[in-house]
């Protein structure tokens, strides 16, 4: 059965990170395909951005309230309106296919995903396809060092678009990319200058991530770190989901993100969560890079990294002696970022 739900792309990123510039070019080259509706959210009362965007089927502007917090009702209403209008169109070839939501620079994409999943109408009509986060190559390191919001945006991303890379030195860019991959190792990285995609040179192997101060204040749970857990090939999906739901229930506030592709008898399932919210798993085609199948990345804190794999094995009733090897993702030892 084909998933006919409306696809939603969330475009996030800090204030001035180049979201609109990037989106404008993507719409111009029709990168999102035909029949795209754009929703622009601006936290300020005076809209600026909507005049710049052409090439979309329609534009909705939500001004005066960030849609991850006080403007959430307006966003839900706008999305419901779109779904309603779409349901009245019978032809498959004329229906709206995708909505791109450009968030304000102050929005946490994770909160928006959670709001959509919690809405009983939207959950039936919308599937969150991708969270793209624009990262300002010039200023991102400074923002990440001081702004908890900047880090939440980075943690929620499926894809980074590094902007203004032409104005940034190669060394600084390498440090930024290494830092991003320690904060969020599973997101893909692309770069764009004025919206046009540019190639990225490989990061030299000896680059160290920037030292980021702990922003959580008196939070003693430690830094957020990624952990990989390899799951057994003949996994019992029901048992695994029981374990994961119990884990998210107990530790959901600490587990910022879980992502991975699980092989099941029904096919390859793309599993992803943001905090306690699990997106309905998508069945992926048997193509592309399948080497990362059955490896699940947990990004979080407040637990010993090796306990994740141990707990899963215990739950599945497997002997704990066999090394399931929850190795920290990058060169960071002991699961520590700093």
């Amino acid at each position: 059965m084909r998933d006919t739900r409306l696809r939603l792309t969330i475009l996030g990123g800090y204030l001035g990170s180049g979201k609109t510039t990037w989106l404008r070019h993507q719409l111009h080259v029709r990168a999102f395909g035909p029949r795209v509706h754009v929703i622009v959210n601006e936290a300020a009362e005076t809209p600026v951005d909507d005049g710049l965007l052409t090439g979309a089927e329609g534009i909705t502007l939500l001004a005066g309230g960030c849609c991850c917090c006080e403007g959430q009702g307006a966003l839900i209403n706008a999305l419901r309106g779109l779904c309603d209008a779409r349901s009245r169109v019978s032809g498959d070839g004329e229906r709206l296919e995708r909505v791109v939501l450009e968030t304000s620079g102050l929005a946490d994409p994770g909160a928006i995903v959670a709001a959509i999943q919690a809405d009983p109408v939207l959950i039936n009509h919308i599937v969150v396809d991708e969270t793209v986060v624009a990262v300002d190559a010039l200023h991102a390191l400074a923002q990440l060092a001081t702004e908890p919001l900047g880090r939440r945006q980075v943690e929620a991303a499926d894809r980074f678009v590094l902007t203004k890379t032409d104005a940034c030195g190669l060394d600084a860019l390498s440090v930024l990319r290494t830092t991003l991959s320690t904060l969020n190792g599973h997101a893909t990285v692309t770069a764009a200058v004025l919206g046009e995609e540019v190639a990225l040179a490989p990061v030299p192997p000896d680059v160290r991530p920037a030292m980021l101060p702990d922003l959580t204040g008196e939070d003693a749970r430690g830094p957020i770190a990624p952990t990989q857990v390899t799951i057994p090939p003949d996994l019992d999906w029901s048992a695994f989901t029981l374990w994961l739901s119990a884990l998210l229930h107990a530790r959901g506030d600490d587990l910022v993100r879980v992502k991975g592709v699980v092989r099941t008898p029904a096919g390859r399932l793309l599993l992803q969560t943001v905090r306690k919210v699990v997106q309905s798993p998508e069945i992926l085609p048997d193509q592309g890079d399948m080497r990362r199948d059955n490896v699940i990345v947990f990004i979080g804190r407040g637990y010993r990294p090796e306990d994740l794999g141990r707990s899963l094995r215990r739950f599945l009733g497997l002997p704990s002696a066999a090394p399931i090897n929850p190795a920290p993702l990058h060169a960071t030892t002991e699961g520590s970022l700093t």
């Binding site: 989901t241 739901s245 884990l247 107990a250 029904a266 699990v278």
Partner: protein
């Protein structure tokens, strides 16, 4: 959505992914209930899913019963009925303590 019981509120819970046909879904429900039953026994709880009524019935050995609609609700209710947290990373669960 059924007006009387409110089911289903969402198009299949995420844990149902991969069970495409009604038969698969029913099998998955029975299988999950069996796993849950084993799992909750150390907490003094029982789990039952007859496959007819929507939801999973959980109860205590003393007879308190409740019906939950998905696994998120299940853990909340299990903790309430058992009177203690259910945490897969707990040292006692892992056998460390």
């Amino acid at each position: 959505m059924c007006n009387a019981c409110g089911n289903p509120a969402a198009p299949g819970h995420w844990t149902d992914a991969g069970a495409a046909t009604p038969g698969d879904r029913l099998r998955a429900r029975f299988h999950r209930a069996a796993l849950l039953s084993n799992l909750l026994r150390p907490y003094g709880l029982t789990a039952h899913d007859g496959g007819v009524v929507p939801g999973i019935q959980i109860g205590t050995m003393a007879g308190a019963q409740t019906i939950v609609h998905n696994l998120e609700e299940l853990w909340v209710e299990a903790e309430r009925l058992a009177g203690r947290p259910v945490d897969p990373l707990d040292a006692r669960y892992l056998g460390d303590a």
